[in-house]
Protein backbone atom coordinates (compact mmCIF):
# COMPACT_ATOMS: atom_id res chain seq x y z
CA UNK A 1 0.00 0.00 0.00
CA UNK A 2 1.50 3.31 -0.95
CA UNK A 3 1.68 6.50 1.04
CA UNK A 4 -1.24 8.20 -0.72
CA UNK A 5 -3.52 5.29 0.13
CA UNK A 6 -2.49 5.42 3.79
CA UNK A 7 -3.22 9.13 3.87
CA UNK A 8 -6.74 8.51 2.61
CA UNK A 9 -7.52 5.65 4.98
CA UNK A 10 -8.82 7.13 8.27
CA UNK A 11 -8.02 4.25 10.62
CA UNK A 12 -4.54 3.66 9.22
CA UNK A 13 -3.83 7.36 9.42
CA UNK A 14 -4.95 7.49 13.04
CA UNK A 15 -2.85 4.41 13.79
CA UNK A 16 0.29 5.93 12.31
CA UNK A 17 -0.11 9.27 14.05
CA UNK A 18 -0.75 7.75 17.47
CA UNK A 19 2.09 5.27 17.01
CA UNK A 20 4.37 8.18 16.18
CA UNK A 21 3.34 10.06 19.30
CA UNK A 22 3.63 6.94 21.49
CA UNK A 23 7.13 6.13 20.29
CA UNK A 24 8.23 9.70 20.95
CA UNK A 25 6.73 9.43 24.41
CA UNK A 26 8.49 6.15 25.24
CA UNK A 27 11.83 7.53 26.49
CA UNK A 28 10.04 9.80 28.98
CA UNK A 29 7.86 7.24 30.76
CA UNK A 30 7.38 3.49 30.89
CA UNK A 31 5.74 1.31 28.25
CA UNK A 32 2.45 1.26 30.14
CA UNK A 33 1.78 5.00 29.97
CA UNK A 34 3.01 5.02 26.38
CA UNK A 35 0.41 2.38 25.53
CA UNK A 36 -2.31 4.34 27.29
CA UNK A 37 -1.38 7.43 25.31
CA UNK A 38 -1.42 5.35 22.15
CA UNK A 39 -4.84 3.90 22.90
CA UNK A 40 -6.42 7.24 23.74
CA UNK A 41 -4.98 8.99 20.73
CA UNK A 42 -5.89 6.12 18.41
CA UNK A 43 -9.52 5.97 19.51
CA UNK A 44 -9.92 9.71 19.44
CA UNK A 45 -8.24 10.24 16.07
CA UNK A 46 -10.03 7.29 14.42
CA UNK A 47 -13.34 8.67 15.57
CA UNK A 48 -12.56 12.16 14.32
CA UNK A 49 -11.21 10.98 10.99
CA UNK A 50 -13.99 8.45 10.41
CA UNK A 51 -16.68 11.03 11.09
CA UNK A 52 -14.92 13.43 8.78
CA UNK A 53 -14.72 10.81 6.05
CA UNK A 54 -18.27 9.53 6.38
CA UNK A 55 -19.52 13.08 5.90
CA UNK A 56 -22.18 12.66 8.54
CA UNK A 57 -21.46 16.20 9.52
CA UNK A 58 -21.93 18.92 6.93
CA UNK A 59 -18.69 19.73 5.16
CA UNK A 60 -16.47 22.06 7.15
CA UNK A 61 -16.45 25.61 5.84
CA UNK A 62 -13.88 26.13 3.10
CA UNK A 63 -10.57 27.58 4.13
CA UNK A 64 -11.09 30.56 1.84
CA UNK A 65 -13.94 31.77 3.92
CA UNK A 66 -14.67 35.50 3.65
CA UNK A 67 -15.45 36.94 7.06
CA UNK A 68 -18.38 39.37 7.01
CA UNK A 69 -17.32 42.97 6.66
CA UNK A 70 -18.17 44.11 10.19
CA UNK A 71 -16.12 41.23 11.63
CA UNK A 72 -13.12 42.15 9.54
CA UNK A 73 -13.45 45.81 10.42
CA UNK A 74 -13.87 45.07 14.12
CA UNK A 75 -11.19 42.39 14.46
CA UNK A 76 -8.09 44.58 14.58
CA UNK A 77 -9.45 47.26 16.96
CA UNK A 78 -10.82 44.63 19.33
CA UNK A 79 -7.55 42.73 19.43
CA UNK A 80 -5.77 46.00 20.18
CA UNK A 81 -8.25 46.80 22.96
CA UNK A 82 -7.71 43.40 24.55
CA UNK A 83 -3.96 43.90 24.56
CA UNK A 84 -4.31 47.39 26.04
CA UNK A 85 -6.49 46.12 28.89
CA UNK A 86 -4.54 42.94 29.63
CA UNK A 87 -2.03 44.39 32.13
CA UNK A 88 -4.88 45.31 34.48
CA UNK A 89 -5.86 41.67 34.88
CA UNK A 90 -2.63 39.73 34.63
CA UNK A 91 -0.04 38.72 37.14
CA UNK A 92 3.50 39.97 36.56
CA UNK A 93 4.58 36.55 35.44
CA UNK A 94 2.14 36.52 32.52
CA UNK A 95 2.94 40.12 31.71
CA UNK A 96 6.55 39.06 31.41
CA UNK A 97 5.55 36.28 29.03
CA UNK A 98 3.53 38.76 26.98
CA UNK A 99 6.50 41.12 26.75
CA UNK A 100 8.63 38.27 25.43
CA UNK A 101 5.93 37.35 22.96
CA UNK A 102 5.85 40.98 21.79
CA UNK A 103 9.57 40.85 21.14
CA UNK A 104 9.15 37.60 19.22
CA UNK A 105 6.30 39.20 17.25
CA UNK A 106 8.74 41.81 15.98
CA UNK A 107 11.19 39.06 15.04
CA UNK A 108 8.53 37.01 13.29
CA UNK A 109 7.25 40.09 11.46
CA UNK A 110 10.77 40.83 10.24
CA UNK A 111 11.53 37.27 9.17
CA UNK A 112 8.15 37.05 7.46
CA UNK A 113 9.24 39.85 5.11
CA UNK A 114 12.26 37.81 4.02
CA UNK A 115 10.84 34.28 4.02
CA UNK A 116 7.10 34.88 3.71
CA UNK A 117 6.94 37.71 1.20
CA UNK A 118 10.11 37.29 -0.80
CA UNK A 119 10.60 33.54 -0.41
CA UNK A 120 14.23 33.66 0.73
CA UNK A 121 14.79 30.97 3.34
CA UNK A 122 16.80 32.41 6.21
CA UNK A 123 18.04 30.13 8.99
CA UNK A 124 20.23 32.66 10.76
CA UNK A 125 17.77 35.34 11.72
CA UNK A 126 18.83 35.28 15.38
CA UNK A 127 22.12 36.82 14.23
CA UNK A 128 20.40 40.12 13.47
CA UNK A 129 18.53 39.93 16.75
CA UNK A 130 21.92 39.49 18.43
CA UNK A 131 23.44 42.37 16.49
CA UNK A 132 20.60 44.67 17.56
CA UNK A 133 20.90 43.60 21.20
CA UNK A 134 24.68 43.86 21.37
CA UNK A 135 24.71 47.20 19.56
CA UNK A 136 22.62 48.68 22.34
CA UNK A 137 24.48 46.78 25.06
CA UNK A 138 27.84 48.13 23.89
CA UNK A 139 26.58 51.60 22.97
CA UNK A 140 24.93 51.94 26.35
CA UNK A 141 27.59 50.50 28.64
CA UNK A 142 30.69 51.77 26.82
CA UNK A 143 29.50 54.96 25.12
CA UNK A 144 26.66 55.90 27.43
CA UNK A 145 24.07 56.25 24.66
CA UNK A 146 20.48 56.05 25.82
CA UNK A 147 17.71 53.80 24.57
CA UNK A 148 16.10 56.22 22.13
CA UNK A 149 19.25 57.26 20.31
CA UNK A 150 20.25 53.61 20.15
CA UNK A 151 17.04 52.60 18.38
CA UNK A 152 18.09 53.94 14.95
CA UNK A 153 21.61 52.74 15.65
CA UNK A 154 20.57 49.14 16.45
CA UNK A 155 18.05 49.02 13.62
CA UNK A 156 20.54 50.56 11.19
CA UNK A 157 23.43 48.26 12.06
CA UNK A 158 21.17 45.20 11.92
CA UNK A 159 19.87 46.28 8.51
CA UNK A 160 23.35 47.03 7.20
CA UNK A 161 24.60 43.62 8.29
CA UNK A 162 21.51 42.07 6.68
CA UNK A 163 22.34 43.77 3.40
CA UNK A 164 26.02 42.92 3.78
CA UNK A 165 25.12 39.26 4.16
CA UNK A 166 22.63 39.40 1.32
CA UNK A 167 24.97 40.87 -1.30
CA UNK A 168 27.14 37.74 -1.57
CA UNK A 169 24.46 35.28 -0.43
CA UNK A 170 21.83 36.24 -3.00
CA UNK A 171 23.89 34.66 -5.76
CA UNK A 172 22.57 31.44 -4.26
CA UNK A 173 19.04 30.14 -4.24
CA UNK A 174 16.80 28.08 -2.02
CA UNK A 175 18.58 25.51 0.11
CA UNK A 176 22.02 26.96 -0.59
CA UNK A 177 20.94 30.37 0.62
CA UNK A 178 19.52 28.72 3.75
CA UNK A 179 22.89 27.11 4.49
CA UNK A 180 24.77 30.40 4.06
CA UNK A 181 22.40 32.22 6.41
CA UNK A 182 22.73 29.35 8.91
CA UNK A 183 26.50 29.74 8.74
CA UNK A 184 26.21 33.49 9.21
CA UNK A 185 24.09 32.98 12.32
CA UNK A 186 26.74 30.73 13.84
CA UNK A 187 29.57 33.12 12.89
CA UNK A 188 27.88 36.02 14.65
CA UNK A 189 27.27 33.94 17.77
CA UNK A 190 30.88 32.71 17.83
CA UNK A 191 32.27 36.22 17.34
CA UNK A 192 30.17 37.44 20.26
CA UNK A 193 31.38 34.49 22.28
CA UNK A 194 35.07 35.08 21.59
CA UNK A 195 35.60 38.80 21.19
CA UNK A 196 36.22 39.26 24.90
CA UNK A 197 37.43 42.85 24.82
CA UNK A 198 34.24 44.09 23.18
CA UNK A 199 31.52 41.63 24.17
CA UNK A 200 32.91 40.17 27.38
CA UNK A 201 32.65 36.72 25.78
CA UNK A 202 30.36 34.06 27.21
CA UNK A 203 29.84 36.07 30.41
CA UNK A 204 27.87 38.62 28.47
CA UNK A 205 27.32 42.29 29.16
CA UNK A 206 25.53 43.36 32.31
CA UNK A 207 24.19 46.63 33.62
CA UNK A 208 22.36 47.72 30.50
CA UNK A 209 20.03 50.63 31.15
CA UNK A 210 16.27 50.44 30.96
CA UNK A 211 14.72 53.02 28.66
CA UNK A 212 13.42 56.24 30.17
CA UNK A 213 10.86 58.69 28.89
CA UNK A 214 10.93 62.41 29.86
CA UNK A 215 13.28 61.60 32.70
CA UNK A 216 11.08 58.82 34.12
CA UNK A 217 12.51 55.33 33.87
CA UNK A 218 10.25 52.76 32.22
CA UNK A 219 11.24 49.97 34.52
CA UNK A 220 7.84 48.84 35.72
CA UNK A 221 6.66 45.74 33.93
CA UNK A 222 3.42 47.23 32.70
CA UNK A 223 5.04 50.38 31.30
CA UNK A 224 7.55 48.15 29.55
CA UNK A 225 4.68 46.06 28.22
CA UNK A 226 3.12 49.14 26.62
CA UNK A 227 6.47 50.15 25.16
CA UNK A 228 6.83 46.80 23.40
CA UNK A 229 3.17 46.88 22.43
CA UNK A 230 3.58 50.27 20.73
CA UNK A 231 6.58 49.01 18.80
CA UNK A 232 4.60 46.00 17.57
CA UNK A 233 1.69 48.21 16.48
CA UNK A 234 4.04 50.57 14.64
CA UNK A 235 5.75 47.61 12.99
CA UNK A 236 2.44 46.13 11.83
CA UNK A 237 1.24 49.45 10.42
CA UNK A 238 4.47 50.11 8.53
CA UNK A 239 4.82 46.55 7.26
CA UNK A 240 1.20 46.42 6.12
CA UNK A 241 1.63 49.66 4.23
CA UNK A 242 4.78 48.49 2.52
CA UNK A 243 3.15 45.13 1.77
CA UNK A 244 0.26 46.87 -0.01
CA UNK A 245 2.49 48.94 -2.26
CA UNK A 246 4.58 48.34 -5.35
CA UNK A 247 7.39 47.19 -3.04
CA UNK A 248 5.26 44.47 -1.46
CA UNK A 249 3.92 43.37 -4.82
CA UNK A 250 7.47 43.17 -6.14
CA UNK A 251 8.49 40.95 -3.19
CA UNK A 252 5.59 38.59 -3.59
CA UNK A 253 6.07 38.37 -7.34
CA UNK A 254 9.69 37.36 -6.76
CA UNK A 255 8.58 34.57 -4.45
CA UNK A 256 5.90 33.37 -6.83
CA UNK A 257 7.92 33.44 -10.03
CA UNK A 258 11.24 35.17 -10.25
CA UNK A 259 11.61 34.90 -14.03
CA UNK A 260 8.17 36.37 -14.65
CA UNK A 261 8.86 39.13 -12.11
CA UNK A 262 12.02 40.24 -13.84
CA UNK A 263 10.35 40.02 -17.26
CA UNK A 264 7.89 42.62 -15.98
CA UNK A 265 10.65 45.03 -15.05
CA UNK A 266 11.34 44.17 -11.42
CA UNK A 267 14.98 44.35 -10.44
CA UNK A 268 14.89 41.14 -8.45
CA UNK A 269 18.35 41.51 -6.87
CA UNK A 270 17.55 45.01 -5.65
CA UNK A 271 14.22 43.99 -4.14
CA UNK A 272 15.72 40.97 -2.41
CA UNK A 273 18.24 43.32 -0.83
CA UNK A 274 15.40 45.60 0.24
CA UNK A 275 13.66 42.62 1.81
CA UNK A 276 16.79 41.67 3.75
CA UNK A 277 17.36 45.24 4.86
CA UNK A 278 13.76 45.95 5.80
CA UNK A 279 13.30 42.57 7.51
CA UNK A 280 16.41 42.82 9.65
CA UNK A 281 15.46 46.32 10.86
CA UNK A 282 12.79 44.68 13.01
CA UNK A 283 15.24 42.12 14.32
CA UNK A 284 17.48 45.00 15.38
CA UNK A 285 14.60 46.68 17.20
CA UNK A 286 13.61 43.39 18.84
CA UNK A 287 17.24 43.06 19.94
CA UNK A 288 17.35 46.44 21.65
CA UNK A 289 14.04 45.76 23.41
CA UNK A 290 15.35 42.41 24.60
CA UNK A 291 18.65 43.87 25.83
CA UNK A 292 16.97 46.71 27.68
CA UNK A 293 14.38 44.41 29.23
CA UNK A 294 16.89 41.82 30.48
CA UNK A 295 19.55 44.46 31.21
CA UNK A 296 21.88 41.67 30.25
CA UNK A 297 22.94 40.00 27.01
CA UNK A 298 25.00 36.90 26.36
CA UNK A 299 25.62 34.79 23.23
CA UNK A 300 23.49 32.02 24.72
CA UNK A 301 20.31 33.90 23.85
CA UNK A 302 21.05 33.86 20.14
CA UNK A 303 21.64 30.24 19.21
CA UNK A 304 20.54 28.40 16.10
CA UNK A 305 17.51 27.13 18.04
CA UNK A 306 16.38 30.73 18.34
CA UNK A 307 16.46 31.13 14.54
CA UNK A 308 14.49 27.92 14.16
CA UNK A 309 11.93 29.08 16.72
CA UNK A 310 11.37 32.36 14.86
CA UNK A 311 11.02 30.51 11.58
CA UNK A 312 8.50 28.14 13.19
CA UNK A 313 6.46 31.14 14.30
CA UNK A 314 6.33 32.45 10.75
CA UNK A 315 5.39 29.05 9.34
CA UNK A 316 2.82 28.24 12.01
CA UNK A 317 1.20 31.64 11.52
CA UNK A 318 1.09 31.23 7.77
CA UNK A 319 3.96 32.17 5.46
CA UNK A 320 3.54 35.63 4.01
CA UNK A 321 0.77 36.70 6.34
CA UNK A 322 1.58 39.63 8.62
CA UNK A 323 -1.17 38.85 11.12
CA UNK A 324 -0.18 35.20 10.93
CA UNK A 325 3.33 36.05 12.09
CA UNK A 326 1.80 37.80 15.11
CA UNK A 327 -0.41 34.82 15.89
CA UNK A 328 2.47 32.38 15.43
CA UNK A 329 4.74 34.31 17.80
CA UNK A 330 1.96 34.63 20.35
CA UNK A 331 1.15 30.92 20.32
CA UNK A 332 4.71 29.63 20.29
CA UNK A 333 5.72 31.83 23.24
CA UNK A 334 2.54 31.25 25.20
CA UNK A 335 2.09 27.52 24.63
CA UNK A 336 5.33 26.36 26.33
CA UNK A 337 4.47 28.60 29.31
CA UNK A 338 0.97 27.18 29.60
CA UNK A 339 2.44 23.69 29.41
CA UNK A 340 4.79 24.40 32.30
CA UNK A 341 2.43 22.37 34.51
CA UNK A 342 3.44 19.15 32.81
CA UNK A 343 7.12 19.87 33.34
CA UNK A 344 9.42 17.76 31.26
CA UNK A 345 6.80 16.69 28.77
CA UNK A 346 6.15 20.20 27.59
CA UNK A 347 8.75 20.29 24.82
CA UNK A 348 7.56 16.86 23.70
CA UNK A 349 3.94 17.95 23.58
CA UNK A 350 4.97 21.12 21.79
CA UNK A 351 6.91 19.06 19.25
CA UNK A 352 4.03 16.68 18.64
CA UNK A 353 1.62 19.59 18.37
CA UNK A 354 3.84 21.23 15.76
CA UNK A 355 4.08 18.04 13.70
CA UNK A 356 0.32 17.44 13.83
CA UNK A 357 -0.34 21.06 13.06
CA UNK A 358 1.80 20.95 9.95
CA UNK A 359 0.16 17.68 8.86
CA UNK A 360 -3.36 19.02 9.15
CA UNK A 361 -2.85 22.67 8.32
CA UNK A 362 0.36 23.06 6.32
CA UNK A 363 -0.59 26.55 5.15
CA UNK A 364 -0.48 27.90 8.70
CA UNK A 365 -3.12 29.44 10.94
CA UNK A 366 -3.96 32.34 8.66
CA UNK A 367 -2.51 30.85 5.48
CA UNK A 368 -5.82 30.55 3.67
CA UNK A 369 -6.69 34.20 4.10
CA UNK A 370 -3.72 35.30 2.06
CA UNK A 371 -3.87 38.18 -0.37
CA UNK A 372 -7.48 37.90 -1.42
CA UNK A 373 -9.18 39.21 1.65
CA UNK A 374 -6.50 41.11 3.44
CA UNK A 375 -4.30 42.79 0.87
CA UNK A 376 -6.34 45.82 0.08
Amino acid sequence: MNYEAIKKHPVLKALLISLFAAILFLPFKDIKSSTILFAIMFIFLSAVLLIKKSQVLPALPKIRWTPPHFLRAASVPSVIMVFILLPFFLKDYYLDVLIMSGIYMLLALGLNIIVGFTGLLNLGFAAFYAIGAYTYAIANTKLGLDFWTSIPLSAGIAALSGIALAIPALRLRGDYLAIVTLGFGEIVRLVLNNWDSLTNGPNGITGIARPSLFGASLDKLNTYYYLVFIFVVIAVIIIRRVECSRIGRAWISIKENEIAASSLGINTTKYKLYAFGFGTVWAGIAGILFASKMQFVSPESFTFMESVLILSMVIVGGLGNTFGAIAGAFILVLLPELLREVQSYRMLILGIALVLFMLFRPQGILGGFKSVHFRR
Binding site: R241, S253, A261, S263
Partner: protein, 255 residues
Amino acid sequence: MYILDVRELTKHFGGIRAIEDVSFKIKGGRIVSIIGPNGAGKTTLFNCLTGTTRSTKGSIRFKETEISKLPSHKIAELGIARTFQNIRLFSEMTTIENVMVSQHTRVRYDFLSVITRSGGFKTKERSIKEKAFEYLEFVGIEDYADTQADSLPYGSRRRLEIARALATEAHIILLDEPTAGMNPIETSEVMALIKKIQELGKTIILIEHDMKLVMGVSDRIIVLDHGVKIAEGLPDDVRNNPMVIEAYLGSETNH
Protein backbone atom coordinates in the same frame (compact mmCIF):
# COMPACT_ATOMS: atom_id res chain seq x y z
CA MET B 1 11.50 52.40 -39.44
CA TYR B 2 12.65 49.22 -37.76
CA ILE B 3 11.84 48.82 -34.09
CA LEU B 4 13.93 45.68 -33.63
CA ASP B 5 17.15 44.81 -35.41
CA VAL B 6 18.71 41.45 -34.62
CA ARG B 7 22.12 40.68 -36.12
CA GLU B 8 23.98 37.39 -36.16
CA LEU B 9 22.42 36.33 -32.89
CA THR B 10 23.95 33.12 -31.57
CA LYS B 11 23.26 31.11 -28.47
CA HIS B 12 25.20 27.99 -27.50
CA PHE B 13 24.40 25.80 -24.51
CA GLY B 14 27.71 24.00 -24.07
CA GLY B 15 28.11 22.16 -27.36
CA ILE B 16 24.51 22.60 -28.43
CA ARG B 17 23.87 25.36 -30.92
CA ALA B 18 20.40 26.52 -30.01
CA ILE B 19 20.55 29.56 -32.27
CA GLU B 20 23.16 30.15 -34.96
CA ASP B 21 23.69 33.51 -36.73
CA VAL B 22 20.07 34.55 -36.84
CA SER B 23 19.44 38.03 -38.26
CA PHE B 24 16.17 39.81 -38.91
CA LYS B 25 14.52 43.21 -38.68
CA ILE B 26 11.03 44.00 -37.55
CA LYS B 27 9.02 47.09 -38.43
CA GLY B 28 6.95 48.79 -35.74
CA GLY B 29 3.26 47.90 -35.54
CA ARG B 30 3.56 44.56 -37.34
CA ILE B 31 2.66 41.04 -36.31
CA VAL B 32 5.60 38.75 -36.97
CA SER B 33 5.38 35.02 -36.38
CA ILE B 34 8.29 32.79 -35.65
CA ILE B 35 7.61 29.21 -36.65
CA GLY B 36 9.61 26.04 -36.84
CA PRO B 37 9.59 22.46 -35.68
CA ASN B 38 10.07 21.56 -32.01
CA GLY B 39 13.59 22.36 -30.82
CA ALA B 40 14.16 24.90 -33.58
CA GLY B 41 15.22 27.53 -31.02
CA LYS B 42 12.11 29.69 -30.99
CA THR B 43 11.77 29.99 -27.23
CA THR B 44 15.54 30.40 -26.86
CA LEU B 45 15.27 33.32 -29.27
CA PHE B 46 12.56 34.83 -27.06
CA ASN B 47 14.72 34.28 -24.00
CA CYS B 48 17.60 36.12 -25.66
CA LEU B 49 15.37 39.00 -26.79
CA THR B 50 14.03 39.51 -23.25
CA GLY B 51 17.29 38.93 -21.41
CA THR B 52 16.04 35.78 -19.68
CA THR B 53 19.19 34.15 -21.09
CA ARG B 54 22.28 35.98 -22.31
CA SER B 55 23.13 35.44 -25.99
CA THR B 56 26.56 34.02 -26.83
CA LYS B 57 27.19 36.61 -29.51
CA GLY B 58 25.47 38.97 -31.87
CA SER B 59 23.56 42.17 -31.37
CA ILE B 60 19.96 43.09 -30.62
CA ARG B 61 18.97 46.70 -31.18
CA PHE B 62 15.66 47.89 -29.83
CA LYS B 63 14.94 51.32 -31.30
CA GLU B 64 18.39 52.89 -30.86
CA THR B 65 19.49 50.85 -27.83
CA GLU B 66 21.72 47.78 -27.82
CA ILE B 67 19.94 45.41 -25.43
CA SER B 68 21.74 42.10 -25.83
CA LYS B 69 23.84 42.68 -22.70
CA LEU B 70 21.09 44.17 -20.56
CA PRO B 71 19.38 42.33 -17.68
CA SER B 72 15.80 41.22 -18.11
CA HIS B 73 14.22 43.93 -15.99
CA LYS B 74 16.00 46.72 -17.90
CA ILE B 75 14.73 45.33 -21.21
CA ALA B 76 11.22 45.21 -19.78
CA GLU B 77 11.57 48.80 -18.66
CA LEU B 78 12.70 49.85 -22.14
CA GLY B 79 9.55 48.29 -23.56
CA ILE B 80 9.70 44.61 -24.45
CA ALA B 81 7.32 42.30 -22.60
CA ARG B 82 6.52 38.64 -23.00
CA THR B 83 4.30 35.76 -22.07
CA PHE B 84 5.56 32.29 -21.33
CA GLN B 85 4.92 28.96 -23.00
CA ASN B 86 4.45 27.35 -19.59
CA ILE B 87 2.26 29.93 -17.90
CA ARG B 88 4.07 31.81 -15.14
CA LEU B 89 1.47 33.64 -13.13
CA PHE B 90 1.82 34.87 -9.56
CA SER B 91 -0.61 32.25 -8.42
CA GLU B 92 -1.07 33.48 -4.86
CA MET B 93 -2.12 36.94 -5.99
CA THR B 94 -5.49 37.92 -7.35
CA THR B 95 -5.94 38.47 -11.04
CA ILE B 96 -5.86 42.23 -10.74
CA GLU B 97 -2.80 42.16 -8.48
CA ASN B 98 -0.97 40.18 -11.16
CA VAL B 99 -1.56 43.03 -13.58
CA MET B 100 -0.76 45.68 -10.97
CA VAL B 101 2.76 44.24 -10.70
CA SER B 102 3.31 45.22 -14.34
CA GLN B 103 3.00 48.91 -13.52
CA HIS B 104 6.12 48.61 -11.40
CA THR B 105 8.38 50.59 -13.71
CA ARG B 106 5.70 53.01 -14.89
CA VAL B 107 4.31 54.38 -11.65
CA ARG B 108 6.83 55.10 -8.93
CA TYR B 109 6.70 56.63 -5.46
CA ASP B 110 9.25 56.70 -2.70
CA PHE B 111 9.41 54.73 0.50
CA LEU B 112 8.40 57.66 2.70
CA SER B 113 5.12 58.19 0.85
CA VAL B 114 4.36 54.47 1.30
CA ILE B 115 4.74 54.72 5.07
CA THR B 116 2.88 58.01 5.42
CA ARG B 117 0.21 57.04 2.86
CA SER B 118 0.48 60.52 1.42
CA GLY B 119 -2.03 61.87 -1.05
CA GLY B 120 0.38 61.25 -3.94
CA PHE B 121 0.71 57.62 -2.97
CA LYS B 122 -3.04 57.09 -2.86
CA THR B 123 -3.63 58.74 -6.23
CA LYS B 124 -0.89 56.69 -7.82
CA GLU B 125 -2.09 53.43 -6.29
CA ARG B 126 -5.59 54.17 -7.52
CA SER B 127 -4.34 54.86 -11.03
CA ILE B 128 -2.35 51.59 -10.96
CA LYS B 129 -5.50 49.72 -10.03
CA GLU B 130 -7.66 51.47 -12.60
CA LYS B 131 -5.16 50.84 -15.36
CA ALA B 132 -4.84 47.20 -14.36
CA PHE B 133 -8.61 46.88 -14.54
CA GLU B 134 -8.63 48.44 -18.02
CA TYR B 135 -6.19 45.81 -19.22
CA LEU B 136 -8.32 43.07 -17.69
CA GLU B 137 -11.28 44.49 -19.62
CA PHE B 138 -9.16 44.65 -22.76
CA VAL B 139 -8.46 40.92 -22.67
CA GLY B 140 -11.96 40.19 -21.36
CA ILE B 141 -11.37 38.74 -17.89
CA GLU B 142 -12.51 41.69 -15.74
CA ASP B 143 -15.13 39.48 -14.06
CA TYR B 144 -12.30 37.53 -12.46
CA ALA B 145 -10.50 40.61 -11.09
CA ASP B 146 -10.63 39.45 -7.47
CA THR B 147 -10.19 35.74 -8.13
CA GLN B 148 -6.96 34.18 -7.00
CA ALA B 149 -4.90 33.56 -10.14
CA ASP B 150 -4.44 29.82 -9.59
CA SER B 151 -8.18 29.21 -9.59
CA LEU B 152 -8.72 30.83 -13.00
CA PRO B 153 -9.83 28.63 -15.89
CA TYR B 154 -7.06 27.72 -18.30
CA GLY B 155 -7.98 30.07 -21.14
CA SER B 156 -8.27 32.99 -18.73
CA ARG B 157 -4.81 32.30 -17.38
CA ARG B 158 -3.38 32.73 -20.85
CA ARG B 159 -5.34 35.94 -21.21
CA LEU B 160 -4.11 37.15 -17.85
CA GLU B 161 -0.51 36.60 -18.98
CA ILE B 162 -1.23 38.72 -22.05
CA ALA B 163 -2.87 41.44 -19.92
CA ARG B 164 0.14 41.42 -17.64
CA ALA B 165 2.54 41.83 -20.55
CA LEU B 166 0.44 44.65 -22.04
CA ALA B 167 0.24 46.46 -18.71
CA THR B 168 4.02 47.00 -18.72
CA GLU B 169 3.19 49.44 -21.53
CA ALA B 170 5.72 47.71 -23.73
CA HIS B 171 6.16 48.54 -27.41
CA ILE B 172 6.89 44.97 -28.39
CA ILE B 173 4.85 42.07 -27.03
CA LEU B 174 6.30 38.57 -27.39
CA LEU B 175 3.68 35.84 -27.21
CA ASP B 176 5.02 32.33 -26.71
CA GLU B 177 2.37 29.89 -27.94
CA PRO B 178 -0.64 31.84 -26.66
CA THR B 179 -3.11 29.23 -27.91
CA ALA B 180 -1.34 26.09 -26.69
CA GLY B 181 -3.93 23.67 -25.34
CA MET B 182 -6.92 25.69 -26.53
CA ASN B 183 -9.89 24.53 -28.57
CA PRO B 184 -10.65 26.06 -32.01
CA ILE B 185 -13.15 28.56 -30.62
CA GLU B 186 -10.75 29.82 -27.96
CA THR B 187 -8.00 29.94 -30.58
CA SER B 188 -10.00 32.20 -32.86
CA GLU B 189 -10.79 34.43 -29.89
CA VAL B 190 -7.08 34.77 -29.18
CA MET B 191 -6.54 35.55 -32.86
CA ALA B 192 -9.02 38.43 -32.57
CA LEU B 193 -7.27 39.56 -29.38
CA ILE B 194 -3.90 39.63 -31.14
CA LYS B 195 -5.36 41.85 -33.90
CA LYS B 196 -6.82 44.10 -31.22
CA ILE B 197 -3.37 44.42 -29.62
CA GLN B 198 -1.96 45.41 -32.98
CA GLU B 199 -4.58 48.13 -33.24
CA LEU B 200 -3.13 49.65 -30.05
CA GLY B 201 -0.01 50.29 -32.13
CA LYS B 202 2.00 47.48 -30.55
CA THR B 203 4.46 45.28 -32.38
CA ILE B 204 3.80 41.59 -31.82
CA ILE B 205 6.19 38.70 -32.18
CA LEU B 206 4.39 35.40 -32.00
CA ILE B 207 5.55 31.83 -31.57
CA GLU B 208 2.76 29.57 -32.68
CA HIS B 209 2.11 26.08 -33.97
CA ASP B 210 -1.42 26.64 -35.18
CA MET B 211 -0.86 27.32 -38.89
CA LYS B 212 -4.33 28.72 -39.43
CA LEU B 213 -3.68 31.32 -36.77
CA VAL B 214 -0.19 32.07 -38.05
CA MET B 215 -1.29 32.50 -41.68
CA GLY B 216 -4.33 34.49 -40.59
CA VAL B 217 -2.73 37.17 -38.44
CA SER B 218 0.91 37.46 -39.50
CA ASP B 219 2.28 40.32 -41.54
CA ARG B 220 5.56 38.45 -41.83
CA ILE B 221 6.83 35.02 -40.92
CA ILE B 222 10.29 33.91 -39.91
CA VAL B 223 11.07 30.20 -40.08
CA LEU B 224 13.69 28.62 -37.85
CA ASP B 225 15.02 25.09 -38.14
CA HIS B 226 17.77 23.71 -35.91
CA GLY B 227 18.61 27.22 -34.73
CA VAL B 228 19.08 28.60 -38.25
CA LYS B 229 16.77 30.97 -40.06
CA ILE B 230 15.75 29.13 -43.22
CA ALA B 231 13.14 31.50 -44.57
CA GLU B 232 11.49 34.85 -44.02
CA GLY B 233 8.73 36.63 -45.85
CA LEU B 234 5.05 37.19 -46.34
CA PRO B 235 2.77 34.33 -45.31
CA ASP B 236 2.15 33.28 -48.91
CA ASP B 237 5.84 33.26 -49.80
CA VAL B 238 6.69 31.18 -46.76
CA ARG B 239 3.86 28.78 -47.42
CA ASN B 240 5.25 28.06 -50.88
CA ASN B 241 8.93 28.06 -49.98
CA PRO B 242 10.28 24.56 -50.76
CA MET B 243 12.78 24.64 -47.89
CA VAL B 244 10.04 25.42 -45.40
CA ILE B 245 7.82 22.72 -46.80
CA GLU B 246 10.61 20.24 -46.43
CA ALA B 247 11.60 21.26 -42.92
CA TYR B 248 8.29 22.00 -41.36
CA LEU B 249 5.18 21.94 -43.45
CA GLY B 250 6.13 18.74 -45.23
CA SER B 251 3.38 16.68 -43.66
CA GLU B 252 0.81 19.32 -44.51
CA THR B 253 1.27 18.90 -48.30
CA ASN B 254 0.58 15.19 -48.06
CA HIS B 255 -3.07 15.72 -47.22
